[in-house]
Amino acid sequence: MKLFEYQAKEAFRQCGIPVPQSVLACSPGEVSGAIGDFSMPCVIKAQVLQGGRGKAGLVRVVRNEKDALEYARTLFEERGVRRILLEDAVDFAGELYLAVTVDPARAKATILACAEGGVDIEELAATAPEKIVTQHVDLDRGLSGHHMRNIAFGLGLNGEKAKAFNKVLSALYQAFRKFDAELIEINPLFLTGEDTFVAGDGKLVIDDNSMSRQPGYEITRDHYDHDVEYEAALAGIPYLQFDGDISLMCAGAGLTTTVFDLINYAGGSVANYLEFGGPNYTRAVDAMELCLRNEKAKVILIVTFGTVARADVIARGLADAVARFRPSIPIVTCIRGTNEEEAFQIIRDLGLTPLSETEEAVQRAVDIAAGRVS
């Protein structure tokens, strides 16, 4: 789960990483109530999850209260922003990049640092990898002095600067561990004229499998591009919405992704990716309800090849869903695996044809969506 900047900075603060003074505001009224406490100029930042906020006009330095209120109003009323952060502007002498992530092959934490901040690290890794200082850290042995020396000297820091930097690095690594981070990043990390460091921005992605031990964070509508994606997430069913007209209701992540490819190869287009495998295989009713929310869908394509997710259970769930919703769009099924003969009979009783070849089912769905067959 990706956190908002204000949440990431609160996590930084808890771990001792210096951050600018800030206030979160959820309405123009809250902005006018708080703005008097800031000396000008200050920074107004939309709290959205997308990257590249600066270029998108979602962050601005404002010179006076009037500009601040005007810009805040624009963000709330015209840009659909739900929260903004008012923050002290930092007078800085330099910018760095610092992040901790994981290296799956080495099974270690990976610290990435660069003496140039505000960079796109992916782009830099591709064009000038020598500028990035990398340090792997074994989680059980932890961050030690030699790791920090490798990084600080690698960045050309020494004396008081290196000391102050090491405090930030140590705190960031601690935050990485404490918050079960997939990625924790400070970009830019400001270096002030007094040789101190301040986190200009904050990014923190918590591992989804660790959310149960990271209480206090909830998914919000802002985490998703569409209403139905958000509803599906609340229901615990993986769902992605697209612009096409074939609604996928499949079981198993790998199989659903492959059906997605096969639709595109066959000249069709996907309305939504819905995966109800694993513990969700008994939830065909919930799955179909979500698929039917997508008004662009002209056909529902069900492909499963279940292991634990028994074919007969899925087919029975489909029968329940059809009885409940009486869908007006056609359904193509390719439900196989354990007890598939029973499943085929249930499907025939629904008046549908049980297909057993994925590519045949995909072609049929594409033909229906294109109006070639009904």
Partner: protein, 293 residues
């Protein structure tokens, strides 16, 4: 001989008394797996499908020999259970747990590597040598998938395994050993670490890998082929060619971030290394045929 698991392995089952554990322990035995004892703290003295249950691995090992561990343990307790097995000297372990915390995956993998153990999973259906032995939740009774034969299969996805392996069988082949490395972003054992076992296995003539977008495991396979460490014919199917960037397609590991993990990069690497990459599952069988005749 097969790789990783056959009838000579003495398998202990952690979490054997749960609903899933007892159901699949029976199936493992029915297929021929030599299950020697089960472990559930607090349940010593019970029996599941005829096998004795102990509080701890240490207590079980006082009465039995074991060299392999199968875990039906929830994700939150998996690290501790694996460390228990490693401390007891077990060096082959399979965990099906879906949802092991990321940092614990790193710690488990690191510990396993430092003692030379192979831990397979999580978020996998397991490992099977059809007709011999099985560890996990694999429906060996589906004959059009789990037919004994001479093709090794490595996979990141349970559902796609059935789809693709059915095409291998349709083309007239069967499976020597199928190893599911799982869909997590940190698989505890990676494709390239299994390849040497297939290379050395006289009962494996060729390998099929079932990959997907995200990560670098397929690229590592290509490196092993380039270096000459793996020389048998190899066919790959990789899902997610048309997946949009930045969207997580089901599995935790199935996401393209920045320039890493694209299917194009994987296809290029494997093709240059001499493998064949199928666009559709139905092309896997004919491609195997092409390489093996």
């Amino acid at each position: 001989m097969s790789i990783f698991i056959d009838r000579s392995n003495k398998v202990l089952v952690q979490g054997a008394t749960g609903k899933e554990g007892s159901y699949w322990t029976k199936h493992m035995q029915d297929m021929g797996t030599n299950v020697v004892f089960g472990v559930t703290p607090g349940k010593e003295g019970q029996r599941v499908e005829g096998i004795p249950i102990y509080h701890t691995i240490r207590r079980g090992l006082q009465d039995h020999d074991a060299d392999t561990a199968m875990l039906f343990v929830p994700p939150a307790f998996t690290k501790d259970a694996i460390f228990e097995a490693l401390d007891a000297g077990i060096r082959k372990i399979v965990t099906i747990a879906d949802g092991i915390p990321l940092h614990e995956l790193l710690q488990i993998r690191s510990a396993a590597r430092s003692c030379g153990a192979m831990v397979v999973g999580g978020n996998t259906s397991g490992v099977i040598s059809p007709g011999k032995a099985m560890m996990g939740v694999l429906p060996y009774w589906i004959e059009r998938v789990y037919k004994p034969g001479r093709i090794g299969v490595m996979t990141r996805s349970g559902s796609l395994t059935n789809e693709v392996t059915a095409e291998v069988v349709k083309a007239g082949y069967g499976v020597s050993t199928l190893m599911g490395v799982g869909g997590d972003s940190v698989p505890l054992t990676r494709f390239a670490e299994i390849l040497p076992l297939y290379q050395a296995d006289p009962e494996t003539d060729a390998v099929v890998i079932i990959g997907e977008l995200g990560g670098t495991m397929e690229e590592e396979v290509a490196e092993a082929m380039e270096s000459g460490a793996f020389t048998k014919p190899l066919v790959a199917f990789i899902g997610g060619r048309t997946a949009p960037r930045g969207k997580r397609m089901g599995h935790a590991g199935a996401i393209v971030t920045g320039s890493k993990g694209t299917v194009e990069a994987k296809v290029d690497a494997l093709t240059i290394a001499g493998g064949l990459v199928a666009r559709k599952p139905s092309m896997v069988g004919p491609m195997l045929h092409e390489l093996m005749t």
